[in-house]
């Protein structure tokens, strides 16, 4: 169903609809993990039944920010770290849009860290994919908030003195209602997780491990990985906050030691999304706000009626 024009009929949505017919060709380096995110999205979106016109992808700055240049939906390529505030307002303005925000680890966990915490806290019904390659790519290889301690770069030549940020635990503590980690080297899982994230009604945070073959050669390329849902060694309930927290802690402890765990970590199905909460307190209109502007019959109140209290 489109926001302004219902299609009115079921149809198969072709994956190719999401690929721009002409330029631009991706400028990502050969072997870049970002290709994996693009591919997963192109596979997932038709499967969840969304046409390119019903989807708005909002990105930040960095290699990850170019995602919507190569994905033929409506797109808004914003500024460094600010994809989330733009995305959540678009969703509030028109809840019928499928809003997907994306950014890198520098963009999303560094400069945009404040927005990340608050968007998770409010549980906006959007999907947020963070391309996590533990490095600043487009600015040529500086240490990022997820780079391991001791990581050497041109800006931290003696090795980083900082403990890396724990994206999954941060997200859980902040209040995200769907949290998963996947990896570009695991396309089948990635597609499934992105589908689930899009269909989830609330803030779905996907920490997407993407290798950077140019600037992070020393780092493991996230293989081998272990799917926590498929492995007998890990048994936990994704709906249980305490168990999820424990699993995240373990994962984040070992990630930099060569063991890569991916999969769903936390799923909270019964928590109302932000717009539902806002609607419940009477601060969200029933109909999509954006549609009123295209509705000739909409009644527009004017300030004249507010003057009584000033007389």
């Amino acid at each position: 169903m489109s926001a302004f024009n219902a299609i009115g009929e079921e149809r198969e949505i072709d994956r190719d609809e999401y690929t721009p017919g002409v330029e631009p060709q991706p400028t990502w380096c050969p072997g870049c993990g970002d290709f994996g995110v693009l591919k997963s999205l192109k596979q997932a979106l038709p499967e969840v039944g969304k046409t390119p016109e019903e989807v708005l992808t909002v990105t930040g700055i960095g290699c990850s920010g170019k995602l919507n240049s190569y994905l033929d939906t409506y797109g808004f390529h914003t500024i460094h770290g600010r994809s989330l505030p733009v995305a959540r307002a678009a969703k509030l303005a028109n809840p019928e849009l499928e809003v997907i925000a994306a950014g890198g680890d520098g963009d999303g966990y560094g400069i945009g860290g404040n927005h990340f915490i608050h968007t998770a806290r409010e549980n906006h019904d959007i999907t947020y994919i963070v391309f996590n390659n533990e490095i600043f790519g487009l600015t040529k290889g500086q240490t990022s908030p997820t780079s391991p301690k001791g990581h050497k770069s041109k800006t931290q030549p003696s090795g980083s003195a900082k403990t890396p940020l724990r994206p999954l635990s941060t997200s859980l503590n902040a209040g995200a209602s769907y949290i998963a980690r996947t990896a570009a080297v695991n396309p089948n899982q990635a597609k499934e997780i992105i589908k689930e994230a899009i269909e989830h009604d609330g803030f779905a945070h996907v920490d997407f491990l993407t290798q950077c073959p140019t600037w992070n050669k020393d780092a493991r390329q996230y293989v081998p990985y272990i799917d926590v849902q498929e492995s007998d060694d890990y048994d936990f309930d994704v709906h249980d906050r305490a168990e999820a927290a424990e699993m995240m802690r373990e994962t984040e402890d070992v990630l930099n030691e060569g063991t890569v765990l991916t999969g769903r970590y936390y799923v909270e199905d019964d928590r109302p999304s932000y717009s539902q909460e806002k609607h419940a307190v009477g601060e969200m209109p029933d109909q999509p706000l954006a549609e009123r502007y295209f509705d000739d019959d909409a009644e527009w109140e004017r300030s004249y009626d507010l003057l009584d209290r000033h007389k």
């Binding site: 330029e23 033929d72 500024i79 600010r82 307002a89 608050h118 007389k311």
Partner: protein, 633 residues
């Protein structure tokens, strides 16, 4: 009979000064008078010297006037029992002592002897000063009176009753307003206190003073509004239904008014984590097809310079309001200044452009907010309404008919799906949203996410017609030229198709000119009136169009006068600088009258500034204002 009443109520923050003065002002307005209120408050929640002044006359009142003639001093109830040498000190007496300097000769003083002791009164030499200045002093135990018939906090009402009796004012309107605001026992107690105070005053005191409430003659219904009300209502009538913000004085008022009204009209208000997010949310909502706004004061606006540039590059319509307070940095949170002009005009990287309007009174605040939305959505450019703490908080009466205008939810240059089918697309079926080939006035119509046939990429990078990032030199020049064309087109539209947003004062053929902008307008208007009454030949222009600049009007004005004085509330003559930059001449014709002590101009200061300027004396005026000589071109 005095021709104007300027009534000042003073106390501590939290003592109900605001609500009491609001009612008193409305009562005067309902009796047919024009009113103007001025609010002075510290950056504190409770206690601290605060006052509200209400000027009422049977003619247009555009400023607070010079000084005042009736003081109701309540005492600062929150300053009681202060610790020795505590941060705030003993301020109990301030509502009386701090207000004496500006009280006019022959003025009336009512103070609460229940809170302010005779000892304190003697310490500030009140009796001596009263004799010198022919003041009429009425100590009344307002606190006791209130306690006796109700609760101590109702001493406001007792004070209103006493001054109403002293000024020979009918209680009818005050009673009505009280009944609107409260009920039950509280209303009953208040009415009892009001009458008791009124009658007691009539019986016990001699009124040898000649200060009375003037007779009013309004025939049409009036509404008492602040600049913040006007801006909020202008936004509502412009079809704005999304606001995002972060609280910061004095912008908070607009944010609050819209947050309280939007739920009833299907709008959405968001209080968010910071001002970068606030402006970015407004951009996101606007991109998704809703008329949206955000705003802040200087420090918060500084954070918005990123999303402001993003809106310009992605051609997302956006309205921001900036309510100035004294800076730099946190400055003086509750004091006005006009020193963010350059900040608002030039912030954000690159050759970024925006529209800036600076309304100078309540009507202009409403009109120009509406205009800002219209221009922003027609031209897909950010528009900023810049005003200050003074205009934000002062209340004046406006004929209610003025607001009788239709809402305007039009999304400007936005295509419908039918129109999109006819629009230009590239080979891959993408909409040429940033088409520069046949753009009119620099505007390329846009689509809204969700619309069929409108897919494109909005990006803060330089981009091709469909929105792909592009560093192609030809495309760059074409896109830049198209975007730059917008301001010229807006200037032409403002000059040719609309009534001037500049306001003029005084006789057209006057020899001397006073130029001002924003909230200093009222004081300038009144000063010009006085100067002409004294036989001088002075006219004035209050400029609202900051960007695109009111080139034609200001040029004509400056050409028509021998000399001009630019009046503004800042230390670096920012507006005079803008005139010289925009016009490239007249540098030797303009001097500046500047004030930056946290208080707005009073008309007498402008009159004095003019006299000093004209006499060409090598001295500064006595008031806390500065004269900056002409700089040359």
């Amino acid at each position: 009979m005095s021709d104007e009443l300027i009534w000042r109520i003073a106390g501590g923050s939290g003592d109900g000064i605001d609500s009491t003065s609001q009612n008193f002002a409305k009562a005067l307005m309902r009796s047919g008078l024009d009113v103007f209120t001025h609010r002075h408050y510290p950056s504190r929640i409770r206690g601290g010297h605060t006052y509200v002044e209400i000027r009422a006359a049977d003619r247009e009142v555009q400023s607070r006037g010079d000084g005042y003639n009736c003081l109701l001093s309540l005492g600062d109830s929150f300053a009681r029992n202060p610790q020795e040498e505590a941060y705030y000190g003993n301020e109990e007496i301030k509502p009386l002592s701090e207000n004496l300097d500006e009280l006019r000769e022959g003025g009336v003083i009512v103070y609460d002897e229940g809170l302010i002791s005779e000892e304190d009164v003697e310490a500030v030499n009140l009796h001596e000063r009263a004799e010198e200045n022919d003041w009429h002093v009425f100590p009344v135990d307002l606190r006791g009176l209130a306690k006796e018939h109700g609760r101590e906090v109702m001493r406001n009402t007792a004070g209103v009753g006493v001054t109403a009796a002293l000024l020979d004012m009918e209680l009818e309107h005050i009673e009505d307003l009280m009944s609107d605001a409260m009920g039950g026992d509280i209303l009953e107690s208040n009415l009892e206190i009001l009458h008791e105070a009124y009658e007691m005053t009539q019986e016990e005191y001699d009124f040898e003073h000649d200060l009375r409430v003037p007779e009013g003659s309004h025939e049409t219904e009036q509404a008492l509004l602040s600049g913040s009300n006007a801006i909020a209502y202008g936004a509502i009538d412009a079809g704005c239904r999304f606001i995002a913000g972060y609280p910061m004085t004095p912008w908070t008022d607009v944010f609050t008014i819209l947050s309280q009204n939007f739920p009833d009209m299907g709008g959405v208000s968001e209080q968010v984590e910071d001002e970068i997010a606030a402006a970015a949310l407004a951009v996101g909502a606007s991109h998704a097809g809703v008329k949206a706004m955000s705003g802040s004061s200087g420090g918060g606006f500084a954070l918005m310079s990123e999303p402001l540039g993003l809106a310009e590059m992605t051609e997302t319509p956006l309205v921001l309001v900036e309510s100035m307070r004294a800076g730099p940095s946190t400055g003086m949170p509750t004091k006005p200044e006009q020193a963010d002009l350059e900040h608002v005009l030039y912030t954000s990287q690159g050759d970024s452009q925006r529209v800036v309007f600076a309304p100078g009174n309540i009507e202009e605040a409403y009109e120009q907010t509406r205009l800002a939305f219209e221009i922003a959505w027609d031209y897909q450019i950010p528009a900023i309404v810049i005003y200050d703490q003074k205009l934000s908080g002062e209340n004046t009466n406006v004929d209610v008919e003025f607001f009788d205008r239709e809402p305007q939810p039009d999304l400007g240059s936005t295509l419908t799906e039918e129109e999109l089918r006819e629009a230009a697309h590239d080979n891959s079926g993408k909409f040429k949203r940033f088409n520069h080939e046949d753009a009119e006035n620099g505007v390329a119509p846009r689509s809204i996410p969700g619309q069929k046939g409108g897919r494109y990429l909005a990006t803060g990078n330089e981009h091709s017609p469909v929105g792909h990032i592009s560093e192609d030199p030809d495309n760059r020049v074409a896109q830049m030229e198209r975007r730059l064309e917008k301001l010229e087109s807006i200037r032409a539209e403002l000059d040719e198709e609309r009534d001037s947003t500049q306001t003029y004062f005084g006789p057209e053929d006057a020899e001397y000119g006073i130029i001002t902008w924003g909230s200093s307008q009222g004081a300038v208007a009144e000063a010009i009136e006085r100067l002409n009454a004294q036989g001088h030949s002075v006219k004035g222009i209050s400029v609202s169009d900051m960007m695109p600049f009111a080139e034609k009007e200001v040029t004509e004005f400056l050409e028509s006068v021998d000399e001009a004085m630019v009046v503004e509330m800042n230390a670096t003559a920012q507006f005079r600088g803008l005139i010289q930059k925009e016009l490239g001449r007249f540098g030797d014709k303009m001097t500046s009258l500047l004030k930056f002590n946290g208080n707005p101009f009073e008309p007498a200061e402008i009159v004095e500034g003019y006299e000093v300027n004209l006499a060409d004396e090598d001295r500064q005026p006595t008031a806390q204002v500065r004269i900056e000589p002409a700089a040359g071109d």
